[in-house]
């Protein structure tokens, strides 16, 4: 094993593991949540990255995230077209279409709901674990 091989990791399905502020049942309705980076996958990692594979099958997606904050910044990245989502920032609610990025400064209340479409969301938190 090379000295730096531990820095290259394969993602895994988060499955039924808990995720604070999130309803795993609601999330799973949309599609699998895949863990791409955290401080357990790579010791010393100071970023947490999830990729959510999303497909809204009904009229609209479920509510699956309660309004919450983090002590570090976060970004939702929707890299490709095909998704419509609603994001709450503070007391405001916004609707947007992918591709798009939502930057969430540390301490700002937020949540997210996928309204329609199919695609992926890359969720990046600026510390090694989600919380």
């Amino acid at each position: 094993m090379g000295k730096h091989e531990n820095l290259i990791v394969k993602p895994f399905d988060w499955e039924d593991r808990d995720l604070v502020f999130h309803s795993k049942q609601g999330m799973s309705e949309l599609g699998p949540l895949i863990s791409f980076l955290n401080h357990k996958m790579v010791e010393g990692a100071d970023m947490n990255v999830f990729v959510h594979h999303i497909e809204v099958k009904g009229d609209t997606g479920p509510d699956y995230v309660e309004v919450h904050t983090h002590d570090v910044s976060q970004a939702y990245v929707f890299p490709e077209p095909g998704l419509t989502f609603e994001v709450v920032l503070g007391e405001e609610k916004y609707q947007a279409e992918s591709p798009a990025t939502v930057f969430i400064p540390a301490g700002l209340k937020h949540n997210l709901k996928i309204l329609k479409g199919k695609g992926i969301e890359v969720c990046i938190l600026r510390k090694g674990y989600y919380g």
Binding site: G2, H4, M47, P79, V102, F103
Partner: protein, 140 residues
Amino acid sequence: MKDYSKYIVKPFDWGERPLIHHDREVMNQLGPLMAFLNTDMVPEADLNIFVHHIDVKNPPGPEYVEIHAHEVSQAYVFPLPGITFEVTLGDEKYTVDSPATVFIPPRLKHTVKIVKGSGIEVSIVRNEKYEQSLAEGPEE
């Protein structure tokens, strides 16, 4: 009511703009590099995010990044299957199939080369807070 719409941004094609350590002309041969987050898009942003749309038409893909290091950590995230890439970390070279993540600690020399396939690469640099970067600038 505060207006937070400034935090929702649309990506744009980096086009012909330079990118330090990268050969942009060669990079564009693989596909467009899209800026998804930086301090020009959101001044408070302490993450820098690019999405590179990649399609290697004549494998192996070209070299377009010289070996370099950052003062902060970085991650290459290949979220979907379909790409084979070669990453250099320090003096070691690895060939990896997507989906995969490469975490690059601060000051570790690295480069990446796409060997074959098509898909996307998300590059995340955990840059300093904007205020701090200003404070570290030259004194006036």
